[in-house]
Amino acid sequence: MLDAVWLIPALPLAGFLILLVAGRRLGDPLAGWLATTMVGAAFVATVLVFFELLGEDAEHRSVVHHLFEWIPVGGLQVEVGFLADPLSVTMALFVTGVGTLIHLYSIGYMHGDEGYHRYFVYLNLFAFSMLVLVLSSSFLFTFLGWEGVGACSYLLISFWFERRAAPAAGQKAFVTNRVGDFGFMVAMFLIFATFGTLEYTEVLEGAGLVPEVTVTAIVLLLFLGAIGKSAQLPLYVWLPDAMEGPTPVSALIHAATMVTAGVFLMVRVNPLLAEAPDAATLIAWVGVATAFFAATIACAQDDIKRVLAYSTISQLGYMFLAVGAGAYVAAVFHMVTHAFFKALLFLGAGSVMHGLHDEQDMKRMGGLKRWMPITSATFIVAWLAIAGVPPFSGFWSKDDILLNAWDKSTALWALGLVTALLTAYYMSRQVFLVFFGEERWRWAAAAGSVPERSGGAHGDFRPHESPWTMALPLVLLAALSFVGGGINLPFKGFHQLEGWLHPVVEHGLRELHLSGETKVGLAAAAIAASLLGLAVAAVVFLVRRRQDALQPAVLRKAWGVDALYSAVIETPGRLLSAFSAFVVDQKVIDGAVNGVAALVRAGGSRLRAVQSGYVRNYALAVASGAALVLGYVVVRGGG
């Protein structure tokens, strides 16, 4: 099975191809079932690979299998190859696992949509690309997956292309990511120029032999790519807009899997990071700054999905904080738990929207606990997980990160802790506004303001629970969000994930030098921060029921970054573009060309006399001219 790792991405690829040809004929819901089956089969294949790898000695858990030569040119030999090791298999496990659940959920969620089969075409293509990204054995093949998921993200964000905002959001995502891709590409050039190969194993083995400045440059360029893909400062702006896509897409691509690709990449190259301490520090700071910054914005959003989008940015920031602190296991740990609870939050939000006819404004929700018991119960589990309440999964992984942050720098830890408080606050705010309090959707319904619809059509105006295909993934993800922390508990004998990932990260891993008391103290601080955030939200939104409280305009407008970018980049860029096209090109360059032509024409009318019309005269002129030139060249060249 280890030689058949390629089968894991190949299954969704097959699904994509079948759906491309026959998707329309299969229709609703068969197309969805086919797509789900393919990703489910990929999950089974991954589980098989996982157990086989587990059967090997820790030192032999890294298997490279080359399929065929892709781009062989001179010294550059790039193969289509797969690397099965603890890191890639962990990624593949949760990508296919969570992916299957979200595919299943989509069967119900997208039911009745005009583009039903097109949706699953894209979704399977995404699963394929994502699996290539994590399972590839070389930078370049990873880049193929990297760009593939980007393209699928673009296609799925602009899925409802008739709307005004969706295509614009898709385009913004693509272009912003391209800025990051610039970094990734130049990083690969530098890697090739330095190491003569783009294979992970060879590059990572040689990391120590290269000057620090080169490694630092490579790491920072790769990090630029990660910033784009994982929506960090300053390139995060595409992710909130990406919420224009169908909600399961937000769950799968913009929460659980694709956006973690940047974190994955940094963990993958951890031996390089170990040689570039300055870069690592920068990464930690960008991460924690993003975590804090996005959390502040999440506190003041009204759109149920936008809260979650900023929350995702913030949580990804935590992961980069972990990467920068050399805590790769903690980064992967949080990536996994985050995949569970954030996917669940999005799917829950989708379920709410489904039940409320695509309402997204939390201020027009409320009291849904009574009407949507499964959705609210599972959502509450996810809330407690992300808020960092023990023993839910998010507590363990976040605590792990904060411990490591403390070990690197107190300032990093402090900012991380404040972010934890904010996280607990904005998530509690969301839960209280949506599931508790007054049933404000009744007024909205009475006022007749029905939002733009797209999903399943229903006649009555009462919130309702979703079908089983949607409810089952919620329940399973809730279970995982609850116990997911169990893969790496901070108690002796419970470090499964750490032991499993150790061979991959041993070169880059930073040892933690904290006493037991410090660890307990820090954990207590984290719990206190979480409870404080929760309590504030409870007082404001549950007890006093003040929905509009604590929403400064600057946070509502997300610090005005979009407006800033528009003013500083977009407008000047557009002006430069217009200047190039309409002044430089048309007036200056083409003007010069036409000017010369006019000059020649004017001269020509004077010289018309020479045009006698006799061929012999022309021949004479041509011959003597050529002779003159030739004579000159021969004399010069000969002498």
Partner: protein, 524 residues
Amino acid sequence: MDDFPYLTTLVMLPAVGAAAVTLVPGSREKAVKAVGLLFALAAAVVAVAVLIEFDTGRGSFQLVSEHSWIKAWGISWKLGVDGISLFLVLLSALLFPIAIAGPEVHRDPKGYVAWMLLLEAGCLGVFLALDLFLFFLFWEVVLVPMYFLIGGWGYERRVYAALKFFLYTMLGSALMLVAILALVFLHQSATDTLTFDLVALGRDQSLAENTARWLFLAFAASFAIKVPVFPLHTWLPDAHTEAPTGGSVILAGVLLKLGTYGFVRFGLYLFPEAVVDLAPLFLTLGVIGIIYGALVAIVQHDLKRLVAYSSVAHLGFIVLGIFGLSSQGLQGGVLQMVNHGISTGALFLLVGMIYERRHTREIAELGGIQKAAPVFAGVFMVVMLSSIGLPGLNGFVGEFLVLVGTFVTHRWWAVVATAGVILAAIYLLWAYQRVFHGQAEGANATFPEMTMREKVVMAPLVVLIVFLGVYPKPVLDRIGPSVSDLVRHVEERTDYRQPPVAAEPTHGSHDPALATEPAAGEHE
């Protein structure tokens, strides 16, 4: 060795076809097209036969057919193919039948088809000629049919565009003719043999450095206009926009490649020293083309003009790869010539189909087409992503090779050029968004879906876009030896050396310490 004169047949078939078409009565439009298509397809079959006969591991010229022509002047009919020209020949043989059969021709199909076939003969001749006189002859032959195709079958400003194209290219040709003659006579005075044979002229050279530089510049002027290299590009948007669809397909797909091919085949081969010395100049112009072409494309409101400017950017990449002077850069450049022909050819076909349906190319008048014509939109999407350079599709392989190949020799040029990759996403996606997304109004709401015939025309291009992106190895394996020979040719005649990391095949044992100085091979 097979004695069948493949290459002569290949060049002659379309020429004969052009004559044959003129014999068919013009009133029988179907017959005209059928005869023309028959000859173009026959040429395609011969081109495929050339591919089959081609010996993959060899870098030298193959299937050479040589016949003395004007003995007294040392001029011969000499054709040959190597890895560099092979796929350009195949590309031409593919695109011409498409340009003949694909788009609607609204007037005088007889003239259209005849000119097309003559044009094909000229293009194939340019790619195959190994005699400078013969090359120049074909080079000039190309000019005339294109002039008439734009002027006769184009849109509103066709006369202006055709004349501009003609004069511009003529100017370049004149310079090149002088340079060819000078080169030949200088060679004669040095070796006492009068010959126009490319291989002989390239092999034993004794040009003074300064002379070689001037002669190269004369050649380069002609090539640079054809490519076109910034700032000699303004004929292109006019010619592209005004030409009929088939003309645009050929113009972008094949004609522009005559320029880049000329740089590789004649520039590098005949004047290696000059190329090495002047590489920074051309690299800079290439990079300017990439950025500038993309910037200008962003604000175009005519869809066809937008695609035309995208060619300026894409050809910039090819120029970059050529003057990057590494195995990867050159192979990427050659591959990208083929890729650009496929992708941009396909884009022009699609834009032509939009024009047929809506009688406008104004982006502002289009919108929401995806709803009415999902297949059309899907095909456009694939072609667009190929043009943007999405990995897994053809454009990426060439672009990546060009950039990585330039990076190892001229680092900063490659870095700036890579930024152009961002811009490509902007202009194409934005155009796509405005044309295909949003609510369809008026005639856009009833935009007819792709017809069977259009699907047949697009299918080979889409298949190649995917195939060359996933498995370019068969192509790279054939381009490779010729490019290696060419790089060696340059290295033997100059003190330029390509960095070891680009040249040697490394198999896992590469010592990173050896390659930490990527600029080691950079000239001066």
